[in-house]
Amino acid sequence: MDITFTLIAQAITFAILIWFTAKFIWPPMMSAIENRQKTIADGLAAAERGKHDLELAAKRAAELLREAKEKAADILASGDKRASEIIEAAKVQAKVEADRIIAGATAEIEQEAFRAREQLRSHVSAIALAGAAKILGREVDSRAHNDLLDKLVAEM
């Protein structure tokens, strides 16, 4: 239980161990730990940022989808409208065309009828002339009765 030189020897050992720890053990260990802490903190921050970005992207996607739906609905509506417009226009045009065709046809029919009547009229005068010749039993001078016959044809 005596205090001996051991005390001083132990104190020297202690001092060397403190120096060794402070120089070679503590600083590299702390720097490794602190670097890792920084890395982890950065990683967590990045993850948080990524999550935030994802949320924003999801929100943006939903918005885009909604816009697209609206646009599609608009397009459908305007398409319907345009289609009915086209149909209406076609109807109007068809009516005009039909009227034109009908008018043309009517005119042609009238013309045909007129021509037929003219033809008939010329035939009638010949028939009447032949009939009259038969009835009179002699050659009628057509030149002498032409104006009479023409008057008859005109009356028909």
Partner: protein, 269 residues
């Protein structure tokens, strides 16, 4: 155990409590306890060499199991220091705390070695008739540690406050700067400066020495026959298990007091 002694309880205990001493002078002071110093040196070199080896390969990436263990130890010490010492702890105080904790823990842990088995090893392998393997049950070790901390305490007091500030504090704290209370202040501080290293070192020494004595007393059960040997062995196991707590706790307390004393030295009153 040497055979030429008559085996009485007191000779048994005396044998186990005798240092392997090497004298190199006339006075009682000029001798070295080779066992204390040798065990301290070997444990210091092994432990801190191991720490150094692990730390040298340390990576800031995913740590291996060895590195994780050392990091747990370092962060444990760092947390303790952070709670007590407010200043730049990384340059000195925290490494000091780690040194104290690890070294004292290892020195205390030598108490787990079975005394009589090791006595045979010391005698027949190391050639030492007397050998005390627990350096912290040698008052020289605990005083060396406590006095080193004490000197550091005074050094940091003077470094932080200046020589004048330190002397001013010796006379003007804790009761005030009135000249009438200067003697009281000085006496108070003197007692504090004396009691700090004493309580610091004697607490550790007392615990470890008492632990060793208990092991010796339990070892003496072997003298009463087979039943006593078994009984003593069972008690020895119980005491060893309890001693794990004491060993770690005393190392921790020693470290905490070291940090507290140095933190107090950094504070101005």
């Amino acid at each position: 155990m040497s055979t030429e002694h008559a085996l009485t309880p007191s000779s048994y205990i005396t044998h186990h409590l005798t240092y392997s001493t090497h004298s190199f002078g006339n006075g009682g002071f000029w001798s070295i306890n080779m066992d204390t110093l040798g065990v301290s040196l070997v444990l210091g070199i092994l432990t801190f060499g191991l720490l150094w080896w692990i730390v040298r390969g340390a990576t800031a990436g995913v740590p291996g199991k060895r590195q994780a263990a050392v990091e747990m130890l370092v962060e444990f010490v760092d947390d303790q220091v952070k709670g007590i010492f407010h200043g730049d702890r990384n340059t000195f105080v925290a490494p000091l705390a780690l040194t104290v904790f690890v070294w004292v823990l290892m020195l205390n842990a030598m108490d787990f070695l079975p005394i009589d088995v090791m006595a045979w090893v010391y005698e027949n392998i190391l050639g030492q008739e007397h050998f005390r393997p627990v350096p912290t049950s040698d008052i020289n070790t605990t005083f060396a540690l406590a006095l080193s901390v004490w000197i550091l305490m005074i050094f940091f007091s003077i470094k932080v406050k200046g020589l004048g500030g330190w002397i001013h504090e010796l006379f003007c704290a804790p009761f005030g700067s009135n000249p009438l209370v200067w003697p009281a202040n000085f006496l108070f501080n003197l007692i504090e400066y004396v009691s700090k290293p004493l309580s610091h070192s004697l607490r550790l020494f007392g615990n470890m020495y008492a632990g060793e004595i208990i092991f010796l007393l339990l070892g003496m059960w072997a003298a009463t026959g087979l039943a006593g040997t078994i009984f003593g062995a069972i008690l020895g196991v119980g005491w060893s298990i309890f001693h794990i707590l004491i060993v770690v706790l005393q190392a921790f307390i020693f470290m905490m007091l070291t940090v507290v004393y140095l933190a107090m030295a950094h504070e101005s009153h």
